[in-house]
Amino acid sequence: MNPRTLVFLLLVLSALGAVSPGASGSAAAPDSADDDFERASLGADWTVHNGEVGIVKGDLVLRSKGIGILTRSAPNFGADQFSEAVLAQGRDAGSMQQVFVRRRQSDGARYGFCYNPDPGRWEIEFDGVPRERTRILASLPVKAGPGPGDTIRIEVRGNTLKGFHNGKEILSATAAAADAITQSGPPGLAFHIRDTKVYPVPMFAGWKGGNLPKAPLVQPSSLPQVEQLEFFEKKIRPVLVEHCYKCHSTEAKSAKGGLVLDSREGLVLGGASGPAVVAGDPDKSLLIKAVRYGDKELQMPPKSKLATVQVADLETWVKMGAPDPRTQIKTPAPAPPAIDFAAARRFWSFQPPRQPPLPVVKLKEWPRNAVDSFILARLEEKGLNPVVDADKRTLIRRATFDLIGLPPTPEEIETFLADDSADAYRKVVERLLASPHYGERWGRHWLDVVRYSDTAGDSADYPIPQAHRYRNYVIHAFNQDKPYDQFIQEQIAGDLMPSRNEAEKYERIIATGFIAIARRFGEEASVDHHLTIEDTLDVLGRSVLGLTFSCARCHDHKFDPIPTEDYYALYGIFQSTRYPYAGSDKVKFQKDFVPLLPPEQVVAFLGSFREKVAALDAEIEPLAAAIRAKEKEMAVVQPASVDSALAGRSIEQLRSAYGEASKRREALAKQRPLIDDAYAVSEGTPANACVHVKGNPYQLGPEVPRRFLQVLGGQELRDRQTRSGRLELAQWLTSPANPLTARVMVNRIWQYHFGKGIVQTPSYFGKQGLPPTHPELLDFLAGHFAQNGWSVKAMHRLIMLSRTYQLASVAGAENVRIDPTNELLWKFPRRRLEAEAIRDSLLMVSNALDRTMPGPHPIPAQSSWNFSKASPFRQVYPTNGRSVYLIQQRLQKHPYLALFDGPDANASTASRLMSTTSIQALFMMNDPFVHELAAKFADRLCQAEREDTRRIERAHRLAFGRPPTPEESRLGESYLRQVHKELDLPPDKQERAAWASYVRVLLSSNEFIFVD
């Protein structure tokens, strides 16, 4: 060996105090033939495997009988750490293989160096449980080294794993590569280089990856070996549960023969006939004897013999020693909560809103209400001056678009201009708040947040004609100024709230469309229902609380105090809720919609139909379950139960029976009498959910009681047995003690008025979000909101009557220098209209707007539905109604809305992007819709006025809310003359075409679609 390398290394360490010469070595040193070998001890972070370290003639050496390895590793080997080994070779080199294993405490993943004598190479390994899953990250032939004295080093930097041989990089792997391994490995074996958190991976406790040196830091374990446990979970437990527990478990009415098989003790103690299992000896085990069906006196299960494979598995298991985790770990233990909730609650958004005193300002006469004091205080602090107030035309245009999403009429403007009273503007605000169009504007904001859609989102995007009821409910709720706390409660648990009359009852059922409209996935939505619940939670968190729950689905939230348990505590509530089913590629009819009729009428209408359906469903469901069970590997912890009558049938037989029954079911479904019903939820089977280990719904961890987020109080359900918990959740969300709900909503209201929120991440109030620009103002507004009965309209009054809202949108040079992006609102921000407001304005000025509130979309009758993934529902229904009533789909966006950054019906939209594209410009230039409306606008002008000058004036008043300047009038007249010449059409068409051309210019202009 070449000690030089080693010496160098150790000397470096020596300087760090790692090495100190030990006692003169002769006594206990094995095979210490070298006379002058003097043992040395190393620092605590060094470990010697199969050898010893000493000093020979002043050189530090490692000596060994076979291959010795000296390793050093950072204590946790987490992020930005390393593990390395120095190799030594003794006289009998090659006689043994040596493995060094280092377990990273962060996630249980292991790295090892291994001499693999078979191909004859050194390998750097990742993980290794079980052995066949071992991933060799890099290997080097023996000749190329590593040889004696060489070093191998594994480093983790950020999310990259690197391997070095004598300082030369031989391996570079990213977390992604390793994640791919995890996916191919058994569930629960985690590899996340990035993570620094402890994961509950209980099956990891034992290592059997190769020859384990005694010295390394892997704790010896009394637990059965990992792959044995896995074998038990996959092969043995399902058989026991399915075929034995009914008679032989503590849950059974009376354990037959006194034998219980649902615990290890039960197996060992046995029943009347003696112990069921003799570990290691299948032939002596009664259990095996029984399942072999060899002895007529002892045959189990009594009705039919187990499959040969199952018997063989049981034998194998007993041979292994019948490893059984059931007494040792019932469920994977949850990680101890790493979150310090008390500390977490100190974060601003988890603090209860304070009632801040009004700040003192210098410009005492400037503020008109409290909002202005808060705004002005911040402006003064930065040396900013608010700009002048907006003129009355600007103001009424701004207020009208803001509240009803339409331009003011020329008459409304004139009335306002002529009104000299002090409360002229207040009257405008009140008129707008009372308009039925207010709900269409503000309801749409909420529909953005809850990602409203008229389709389900599965791969065939099934239409939901009933969805409109929820949409209209939202619009009505805003029009009625339904208190926001009640609004939230109804959407989450309306069906469970007491109601005064039938109408209110049905309205509240419809409100739960909030939950029902969650996305459906894939070809048979019921299969991936967990994704639908995840989507529900995602939107619930963002919309009401401004929190992103989804991170906690797989692991504790990285930034916010939301542990995985909290996620599944809420998950259980929705798992206990019955969702309606809109149809999908595989099962093409509606199910579980909620009737909007008294029960007796429902029975009258549907009685016999329901019986037929129930009979068929009872036939189909076991078939489906049997097919799933055959197709999928059994879930690890909780096996699916299969109807024993079906267990013997082949998958082909099952499929054909299923197909045949499904066809009958579909035909029957299409005969369903039509009743009034809602896309709404109802109570399902109340049960707690189990943690999905790493988000995998097929690997269940510990059960979590349904309750609220711990950081917000962690209130528990009083009645877990008979209720889902939605009603309680609705109350927790809207409790005055909840610091988030009111803040999030007042911030949204502010944002829709000013274009950006006080918190500019309106659906995310967590640590990674942006802090409020005006924290006291936000708290003041939240307090005002709660104190004024959660009235949204009261918030509009407060905000819109402030002087801040009434500022002009012009720049002040000095302000721009200090606050170029107008963070502190020294002026009113100019905004482009949203997709809906652009279209509605085009319709309105052209006198083509249909102002009625429509019912369902003209979707064809359900009996004709045959949508599939190859031919999904894609219908777009043209209408001249308001844009909030355009059909919203998930697989395709409405073509117009897609063009102008319309809402995404797949995910909660907190604020609209405002992109400017040339495709939008082409729409204004060439789209038949714009041309048709321009022609109507032209007709309107030509019918109303005879003279060009008057028509030009009317056009300006309608489109821009102002008369034209003299220059614009001249320009218009000149333009019309010019266009007449260019067009050269027959006289009857000429005038209309010329005017249409002229108004297209106005409708395309920036003034038309921007609001000052």
Binding site: A175, R830, I919, E982
Partner: protein, 445 residues
């Protein structure tokens, strides 16, 4: 034009200072490929019948073999319908399904070890385009557009020539949370290739005047509003739209193409809407500086896809549609010296297993554990194969390339580091490859 307008315009100072989301941007590092043509065979191309020869599957056809991951389940092996032969100088075996592409094999880098995450068409198609099989995310083309901008302002940066939609519909080219300018623009057929690209009726004659008057209004409006960047950007969007209106019809007007070129692609003069037209139009778009062009190959009927469950023969008509035009595109790009700066990608959402499927046992179902795609052109080693599968082409045995790795590699070839190409959304930085992906360095030239 009216003198008054001209005068008004002359008085205005043209402000062109606003940032343009589509302005060309420097890559993270120099790269050979500047543009992408992404060919997507919708429905699932069988690698076993095309690019991944399995002699043992020919030999064992009719026997039963274990289905991976289905405990003991066995199914009959189906013989590939097309024979394999060594092709080109490199000798890579390609089947007779693609006789024309087979001749281009020396220009291809065939990856036989692709794998993906979801067995359903819609999910897998979205996975191949957006990296996510569940939630909506921006498309690969949108990311490239966001990262690099485009060369030609008169055309969109990301164009999808798709007479018929693939599974997943328009989500396939969605910009999702990226700014709308990066959304794919669909070209559906020859007559009106881009939505609203043709002026309506008589307005053709007056449109230039309309746009001048519009600019006059907009500039006067802007002058009173401190040169607001959003207003100025919208003014420019009309200029661009007008340019696009002028240029786009010319792109799709193939009358200037020679007989030889049309013959190469197998296109009749005047024919549009078929895949040969798509391929030739793609070359013309790339010539004119479009950054990312996607071509979706499928027919108009509900079942005219590569999803040959019932009978593998159904791959025949699809190959007849796709094969010659794709080979022609490669040759055409090469002949014009464009191939070295263009990355051509061919893929499907997944592959097909060696076992029988369908009522008559003549088709194949879906397989996500292994399938084949190829790359050609800028920055890619050509005439090679990468990765390998087992004897029946079920599992990857060598150099697995997950869809995330495929995306990371495509971005790398465009000079983009997939870990640095991020967009902040909902409080965190999103990437095409999420937290996954590594560049397949072995195939970089």
């Amino acid at each position: 034009m009216p003198g008054l307008i001209a005068q008004l315009l002359a008085d205005e100072e043209h402000q062109k200072s606003t940032p343009d989301p589509l302005a060309p941007r420097a890559p993270h590092f120099p790269a050979k490929a500047k543009q992408v043509i992404f060919i997507f065979l919708s429905g699932g191309l069988s690698h076993l019948d095309s690019f991944d020869p399995k002699p043992k599957l020919f030999a064992d056809a009719g026997k039963e073999a274990a289905v991976d991951g289905a405990q003991g389940k066995k199914l009959r092996l189906l013989r590939p319908l097309w024979e394999f032969k060594p092709r080109g100088k490199c000798g890579t075996e390609v089947s007779d399904l693609f006789p024309h592409m087979a001749e281009c094999v020396d220009d291809l880098c065939i990856i036989r070890s692709l794998n993906t995450d979801h067995r359903d068409h819609t999910q897998a198609t979205l996975g191949m385009h957006t990296g996510s099989v569940t939630f909506t995310r921006p498309s690969l083309g949108s990311w490239v557009s966001y990262g690099l901008g485009t060369f030609n302002h008169n055309l969109p940066s990301f164009m999808v020539i798709a007479p018929h939609l693939s599974f997943g519909g328009e989500q396939v080219w969605s910009a999702d949370f990226l700014p709308g300018a990066h959304q794919g623009t669909r070209v559906a057929s020859g007559s009106n290739p881009i939505p609203n690209i043709k002026p309506q009726g008589t307005s053709t004659r007056v449109q230039p005047a309309e746009l001048k008057l519009l600019e006059a209004y907009n500039r006067a409006h802007l002058a009173d509003r401190d040169g607001d960047a959003a207003l100025a950007a919208r003014i420019r969007s009309f200029e661009t739209a007008f340019g696009m209106q002028r240029e786009a019809p010319e792109v799709f007007d193939l009358s200037q193409e020679t007989e030889a070129t049309l013959k190469l692609y197998g296109l009749q003069r005047g024919q549009t809407g078929n895949f040969a037209w798509q391929c030739l139009a793609a070359r013309r778009l790339v010539e004119r500086g479009v950054r990312f062009v996607e071509l979706i190959e499928r027919g108009g009927g509900m079942y005219d896809t590569w999803d040959s469950h019932e009978d593998m023969k159904a791959h025949g008509p699809r190959a007849k549609s796709a094969d010659q035009p794709i080979a022609a595109l490669l040759r055409d790009l090469k002949a014009r010296g464009m191939l070295q700066e263009t990355l051509v990608v061919l893929t499907s959402e997944f592959g097909r297993p060696p076992f029988v499927d369908g009522s008559g046992g003549k088709g194949r179902s879906h397989q996500i554990s292994a399938f084949t795609s190829w790359l050609a052109g800028g920055g890619v080693k050509c005439g090679i194969t990468y990765g390998a599968t087992d004897d029946y082409g079920i599992r990857v045995t060598e150099n697995p390339v997950h869809v995330h790795d495929f995306h990371a590699t495509i971005l790398h070839l465009m000079g983009l580091d997939h870990e640095r190409l991020t967009y902040r959304h909902l409080g965190r930085d999103f990437r095409l490859t999420d937290v996954h992906g590594h560049v397949v360095k072995d195939i970089l030239a």
